[in-house]
Symmetry: C2
Subunit: 162 residues, 2 copies
């Protein structure tokens, strides 16, 4: 009995590590987002966080071609954030300490018409816990992004690349 | 005659945009490096630069598996650097301004045995001008990386990812 319970528990843990729960608005954690390509880094002086904005194939193609206002349907932006520390071996380098969260903007003009054509979702901590008690959490995201409506609700500029 | 000259010039310009010159130690600018996957961001407080370290397939696999001391032969690390500015629409966000340079470390234990198993190269500015007057420039790179010999000469820790 102990053995079976242990097996069930281990199974549950393994599954948990594989798949985060969907956000309260039913957006699923996009697969393979960690391996998407670079759109831009940033540093938040108020939160003391390093961030990297990655994009799926549609988003990165748009970024490289400078066609980001509006971003095309199918584009997904992933913003990964870390708390920071001073590098142990280089005193003037600020580097990631702990993973804080992954945030996503999913462009679908029809499906997400009520929030500027973007679906929002956030997963918090290394356990990737979905953010928000219910689907209304997106109003918080959308409210913050509304001042950049003229930039298709996106703060990020693709970083200049040669 | 004018037409031919113009054609030649345009050809040269087009080629220049396609391919940067090799570094003085004959390392070529790795193809497609802009689309490599994320290893870590960093911020240099002394130089006021945002950096992103990307890796080729071999390097990223090693980073994800935590097998980076030593890094495997075939691994290439790319460090992209930007000067910074305050985001126009978010006062506490520091974001890239201009592209500064791309630096590379190419792991080949045999070929680069004299410099810790790593070949070094740097291309500067959006024109990607190779850095160094002659092949001896690598001594500058290697000198700076020697204090982290115990980390296979690499400062970067792969950023924690869930």
């Amino acid at each position: 009995m102990k053995k079976i319970l242990c097996g069930l528990l281990l199974g549950a843990v393994a599954q948990g590590a594989q798949a985060a729960q969907p956000a309260p608005n039913d957006i699923s954690l996009p697969e393979g987002y960690k391996n998407w390509q670079l759109i831009s880094p940033s540093f938040r002086t108020d939160k003391n966080q390093l961030r990297v904005i990655l994009g799926n194939e549609v988003a990165v193609r748009a970024a490289r071609e400078g066609k980001v206002n509006p971003w095309p349907d199918g584009a997904i932006l992933a913003k990964l954030a870390w708390s920071v520390k001073t590098d142990e071996r280089w005193a003037t380098a600020t580097v990631p300490k702990d993973f804080v969260q992954a945030e996503f903007m999913v462009k679908d003009s029809a499906k997400y018409a009520a929030t500027g054509g973007w679906g929002f979702a956030r997963w918090v901590g290394k356990d990737l816990k979905p953010y928000g008690k219910d689907a209304s959490f997106v109003q918080e995201c959308f409210g913050c992004h509304t001042p950049v409506k003229d930039k298709d609700y996106v703060f990020t500029h693709p970083a200049p690349l040669p």
